[in-house]
């Protein structure tokens, strides 16, 4: 029933990736992590606050004609740990997996310490070690600042 409802809102895609079970409100941040912005050439559909039995409400992102690799999408786990990835070919789900929290995250999140070397004009990317997944706890590899809340607010 829920699936039919969703199909009424946005038609199924022919080929590409559907990211489902995103925490409600995080869809735009998911796009940000994936580097999908205004200049993308792909057809991208964003559904927000879709009713969900398991989650109450969820967001869904569909990217047409692009198959996302696990390592590309794993960083989504930082803000949407329950997200599932569906790879679609010819309207069929050919592959389905859950995002897995990566061991480290590079160049995606800004360190919360304004005096960290990664927040200066040095040519280095921010880098965090994932110290714990539940709750999500990230430690800056440079200054050791611990980021444990509002991680989405620190997206670069």
């Amino acid at each position: 029933m829920a699936s039919n409802e969703r199909e009424l809102r946005v038609k199924p895609i022919n080929n590409g990736t559907v990211i489902d079970h995103i925490e409600a409100g995080q869809a735009l941040n998911v796009l940000k992590i994936l580097g999908i912005g205004g200049h993308t050439r792909h057809v991208v559909s964003v559904l927000m606050n879709v009713p969900s039995v398991a989650m109450g409400a969820k967001d869904v992102v569909k990217v047409e004609d692009r198959e996302l690799e696990p390592e590309e999408v794993d960083t989504i786990a930082l803000i949407a740990p329950r997200a599932t990835i569906n790879i679609i070919r010819n309207y069929e789900v050919v592959e389905k997996f859950r995002v897995a929290m990566p061991g480290s995250v590079t160049g995606i999140i800004r360190c919360g310490n304004p005096n960290c070397i990664s927040n200066s004009h040095e040519p280095v990317s921010s880098r965090f070690v994932v110290e714990s997944t539940s709750p999500v706890l990230l430690r800056c590899s440079y200054c050791e600042f611990v980021l444990d809340e509002n991680i989405a607010d620190h997206l670069l």
Partner: protein, 309 residues
């Protein structure tokens, strides 16, 4: 344990055995720390890059290199360097690594030394990165306790007094003392207490510790009284600062009732925390502590440069 070509960034990177090895080597090198013709680093150049001012740390590194027969290059403020022209630290390190066999760096940004170590092909020694780490200070603090106390470090009751919130020295020291399971008494005003994350870490390591705002609570039991400076700018109200600074000031009078062999340490510079009259008491060790920076830095330099001693 391999130290050759290793970067020295944070005390947390080391095990207790590794720290003990550094302290052992410092002990062997100490007789040469006032001179004596060692030439372990003959033909070696050590760069001391001090983007921030420092007296003791820079001069003791300089002394350590020279006591080992090596030479130093470097600067003691960013103003006289290409940094003032906008050069990145990244580029500075890429250039200096081709001039020197090791790089000692102090920088105002946290993580600067870690970044330098990822760029440099020669060992990098952190001499202070903002509010971050200053591992050779911690090593010389431990060395001072080992040399000047009658008991081994694990049996000591160490009282750390002052700004425990922002002071990088005390954070590193507390971590290092946890490796020895020394007992800790943490004395600070309420607003400058040691961060909860560090307290939890210490308790998790099984460290016995007490926290109190009153120095009188810990004086009679302490084997080591580790004093630190409280900075005026930490207090919005100057009168509050004066009240706190006054309550933590050590004078010959405050020392009545302390253990005979209790030692007083301070990373220096001191402002008003210790009355100069205390200098002549048998408890004062802060100047000797500053001297111990030389053998410790001799030990670290000789180890990372792969020299036997």
């Amino acid at each position: 344990m391999i130290f050759e070509r290793r970067h020295i960034i944070s005390t947390k990177d080391f095990s207790r055995e590794e720290i003990d090895l550094i302290l052992d080597r410092a002990e062997r090198l100490e007789p040469y720390a006032r001179g004596g013709g060692l030439d372990l680093l003959r033909g070696h150049v050590v760069a001391t890059l001090f983007f921030e001012p420092s007296t003791r740390t820079r001069l003791s590194f300089d002394t350590a290199v020279k006591r080992l027969g090596g030479t130093t290059i470097g600067f003691d403020s960013a103003e006289s360097t290409s940094t003032a022209k906008g050069e990145t630290l990244f580029d500075t390190i890429k250039v200096i690594e081709s001039y020197a066999d090791a790089i000692v760096i102090r920088h105002h940004r946290e993580g600067a030394a870690r970044m330098a170590s990822e760029i440099s092909s020669v060992p990098v020694i952190n001499a202070g990165d903002g509010a971050g780490h200053h591992p050779t200070q911690t090593l010389l603090d431990l060395y001072t306790m080992r040399k000047e106390c009658r008991r081994p470090i694990e049996d000591l009751n160490v009282a750390i007094v002052g700004d425990l919130k922002y002071g990088r020295t005390v954070h590193s020291l507390a971590y290092a003392l946890s490796l020895y399971r020394a007992r800790l008494s943490l004395v600070s005003p309420e607003q400058l207490r040691m961060p909860g994350s560090i307290i939890n870490y210490l308790r998790g390591k099984g460290v016995e510790l007490v926290e109190t705002p009153r120095i009188e609570d810990v004086l009679t039991e302490a084997d080591v009284l580790y004093m630190t400076r409280i900075q005026k700018e930490r207090f919005p109200d100057p009168s509050e600062y004066l009240k706190v600074a006054d309550s933590y000031r050590i004078t010959p009078n405050t020392l009545k009732g302390v253990k005979d062999d209790m030692i007083i340490m301070h990373p220096l510079p001191r402002v008003n925390e210790i009355d100069p009259m205390v200098d002549s008491t048998p408890h004062a060790r802060y100047f000797r502590q500053a001297f111990y920076g030389v053998p410790i830095r001799m030990a670290v330099l000789s180890l990372v440069l792969g020299k036997e001693a």
